[in-house]
């Protein structure tokens, strides 16, 4: 068991035993390799099931708005802590009911990359700080952890929580100025037809299961635009224009709010790189608003929610 898991269980037990919280939201081991399951520990026995490793995908902050007045502790790495800040700023949760167990993070593994690198079905996978070993019938392959990280994690610059009540380990070193947006820039450089083609191809496997929306801590609307019937904003069929509309409108709703946690991509059953769309919005906001990154502290609101006389407006014609 790794040190962060040991510490996490210790913190969780203490919080539950002293009845400081009703529930600790974390992960427990899943039933298949490379996948943990979100877990809601309510007593110290259950706290012993909590763990932290490279398979804690998704964003736990997405569960907070529906906790209905319960006092909840949440295990939060950099991205999740930013989303908790966001939920507090957007008044979706009461900060008095939230206890943040900070979790310095070294990135989550991308099961697709690991599966692609091995010749058969993986029956067991173990990781340490640097390597991941996947075993199956007739093979055992060790991969560099850094080669099989999620596409969002391998360039993350906020591995350490920005807000916490208690922290489960020393901070992890942060990346400085990673290469970002290569693919988005490549699409931007294409002519309009080329861009249309790239985006259509990107979205062609979409089955509209809305896992991307449902896993996203920004998507807490009680009724999503895509479910509305009067008016109906968006067709419901697999028509590519309707699929595109759904993704574009959702991406637009994340403008200035997305923390690049990557939950949308991690949960996508079809492996769609959704952040090639929402990332475009995130990139624009960063470039237009002076390097802005969402919710790194409790005070700074997202730029699109406030009006400044000198707001940049490159799209407006004089």
């Amino acid at each position: 068991m790794n040190a962060r898991t040991t510490k996490l269980r210790e913190i969780a037990k203490k919080l539950l035993d002293k009845q400081k919280v009703d529930v600790v939201i974390g992960f427990k081991k899943g039933t298949i390799p490379l996948k943990n399951t979100p877990f809601f520990a309510t007593n110290s026995e259950e706290a012993d099931l909590l763990l932290w490793d490279g398979n804690c995908i998704g964003n736990l902050a997405a569960y907070l708005p529906k906790m209905a007045g319960k006092r909840a502790a949440i295990v939060a790495q950099g991205c999740v802590s930013r989303n908790v800040v966001g939920l507090i700023q957007e008044k979706q949760v009461d900060s008095n009911n939230i206890y943040i167990i900070g979790m310095p993070c070294t990135g989550m593994l991308d099961p697709r990359k690991i599966i692609a690198a091995v010749p058969g079905e993986i029956t067991e996978a173990v990781e340490d700080q640097l390597y991941v070993t996947a075993r199956g019938k007739g093979f055992e392959i060790t991969l560099n952890r850094s080669d099989v990280l999620n596409r969002n994690c391998d360039r993350c610059t906020v591995r350490n929580p920005v807000l916490f009540d208690e922290i489960a380990s020393e901070p992890k070193p942060e990346l400085k100025d990673p290469v970002r947006y290569e693919k988005i820039r490549a699409i931007e450089a294409l002519p309009p037809e080329g861009r249309a083609e790239s985006i259509d191809e990107l979205l062609s496997p979409c089955i509209r299961c809305y896992a991307c929306r449902d896993a996203c801590p920004l998507c807490y609307c009680p009724e999503c635009f895509v479910d509305k019937s009067s008016p109906q904003w968006c067709g419901k069929s697999q028509d590519d224009r309707d699929v595109l509309s759904y993704h574009l409108i959702r991406a637009f709703h994340t403008a200035g709010r997305c923390t690049e946690c990557g939950a949308c991509e991690e949960v996508c059953p079809m492996g769609i790189k959704i952040r090639l769309i929402s990332g475009k919005v995130e990139k624009d906001i960063r470039e237009i608003f002076d390097g802005y990154e969402a919710w790194k502290d409790l005070k700074t609101p997202p730029p699109l929610t406030v009006f400044q006389r000198d707001d940049p407006q490159p799209f407006v014609k004089e």
């Binding site: 899943g30 039933t31 298949i32 996948k35 943990n36 399951t37 979100p38 877990f39 809601f40 995908i57 998704g58 997405a62 697709r112 692609a116 079905e121 029956t123 496997p205 089955i207 509209r208 299961c209 809305y210 896992a211 929306r213 449902d214 896993a215 009724e223 479910d227 067709g235 419901k236 069929s237 697999q238 028509d239 991690e266 949960v267 996508c268 059953p269 079809m270 492996g271």
Partner: protein
Amino acid sequence: MEYMRLNKKNLAAFIEELKQKCEVWGPVKEGDQVKFAPVSNVSDVDLEQFKNTTMSPKEIFFPQSEIMLSFKREGEGANIYRDEQSVPSKKAIFGIRPCDARAFRILDMIFKNDQFADNYWLTKRDAVTLVGLGCKEPCSTCFCTSVNSHPFDETGLDVMVTDLGEHYLLRVLTKKGRELLAGSHVLREPSEANIEAYKTVRKNAEDAMTVQFGTDKVNGKTVLELFNEDYWQRISEPCLNCSTCSYVCPTCHCFDIQDEVFREGGQRIRNWESCMSWIFTVHATGHNPRPGKKERVRQRFMHKFKYIPMKRDGEIGCVGCGRCVTMCPVNIDVREVVKQMNS
């Protein structure tokens, strides 16, 4: 029972023969997904590596979006719905896994009940001959033997193919299957040894799979006993209420019907929908009989493991393909759920 033998070297020739009779579909790789599609070149199909398709093949007969009816808005015949059914072309589908074929049989019972028949499903089904591929090496997430099936289940298939290494052994199961294979020049009479080898492969595959759970106690409990269990709360906690499980599932069949309007006319379309979504059951008044994820998650498992068996002579609404196990973003594992239901 009739058996035939196909040397793997003749697979291309065999598929060409079939193409003379009808369209031939097989598992084709598209990006990092595998799906059933027309086989233009036999090299597109890798039956050796093939485990199963990413999405269930139900989409062949029950596409995610399907145009049902159309209408004009002006002029002669305006506002009268017209049938938009096309006559499907005949096709043979090669490489269907037994679990998925069994699922078709379950869906046959759903789409045709004692009073009504869904012609959109039925006409497409009738036009297809199913050539199954027995599972020599089931995956660790497979659990067909726990839900009254097995890796060589012939339910719903017209021909069953078994990989014997150098050869395929074809077992003819129906008249449709016999007609498909009739007149082939590359099929041979198998030897006794071939048939013995088939039986061994089949037995080994069945032995390799342990029964992971039973469903006997589920049958013994009443609807309300199961419905009122406490465990539904815990099972549903991590659920995101996305529709992944329903959409990848070979037996999930719920759909929505929508009208869409264009300039001069419009269409009535059906789209897959999932009991996981909030909008699935909400009344126009705003009242929702299944308001939370507990109720919705419970519905999905109760439907498959209690309601369908009650209404369809014990047939379980799950075939153990394991897609939801691997694809659920939060790892809600149907096997664990049924174990609790059956405890």
